[in-house]
Subunit: 141 residues, 2 copies
């Protein structure tokens, strides 16, 4: 039975959460994917990050991040300007439109999380986090 496999449960939980999150963002009339939102949010926090560093923070590949950034630029949520001391890079900036999108998404995400974690205590959450971290460490070595 697939349902007895823990990785199946993990996959099911995260997929269902992602679907809920994206549905609610769409329903709020916001034109962004959750993955793009995550990247945008990380850039907002620190605009000096390289794509590789962004990729590490959001657990994605540099190639994926490059394409998401290209889309965010195309959609006007990000702007880029050259960096003086390093011609390989560009400095990314969240545009006012990007800021507005972040602000609009924030409450939706908070509601999603609250819904997803209903009936789960802080202690259980800590346990969950600890076990998942253990799996992560077991897999990375």
């Amino acid at each position: 039975m697939l349902s007895r496999i823990i990785f199946y449960s993990i996959d099911k939980a995260i997929r269902t959460y992602r679907k809920l999150a994206q549905t609610n963002i769409d329903r709020a009339g916001i034109a962004i994917t959750i993955d793009q939102w995550l990247v945008l949010r990380v850039i907002e926090e620190d605009q000096s990050l390289t794509q590789t560093e962004i990729a590490e923070r959001v657990l994605k590949d540099q190639a994926s991040v490059a394409r998401m950034i290209a889309l965010l630029l195309k959609h006007g949520l990000l702007a880029s300007e050259p960096v003086a001391h390093d011609a390989r890079r560009t400095r990314l900036q969240v545009t006012p439109q990007g800021q507005a999108t972040l602000a609009a998404v924030e409450p939706v995400i908070l509601r999603n999380r609250a819904q997803a974690l209903q009936g789960i205590s802080e202690e259980e959450l800590a346990t969950l986090r600890r076990l998942l971290e253990r799996i992560y460490l077991n897999c990375s070595t």
Copy 2:
């Protein structure tokens, strides 16, 4: 901090596990993706399933399953034949090559799981499963 968000932990755990699994399959010289393997395995268990039913079992979209089946057919791991009473469908069969692939992957998967779950007790696993199931239910309603 992203690391404080539980969905980040879930995502990190499952991604790292998937990467470990795929790396070990590749390293064993087996030409199949984990997703294709999962589909092939489900078909082996019940060859009368429709694509939609397979998709439900493996938590994927019918469109994704259709494309994976197309690849499995192309690679010779599956064969299809018409179904007498319903012209919409085809009956899928795991070929000998498919059987061999499943047999070769099995021990790799078992080793992966054992590695990923090192140091986690049966009781903790049950807790993990219960919490993830709760998140899933919270998100599906």
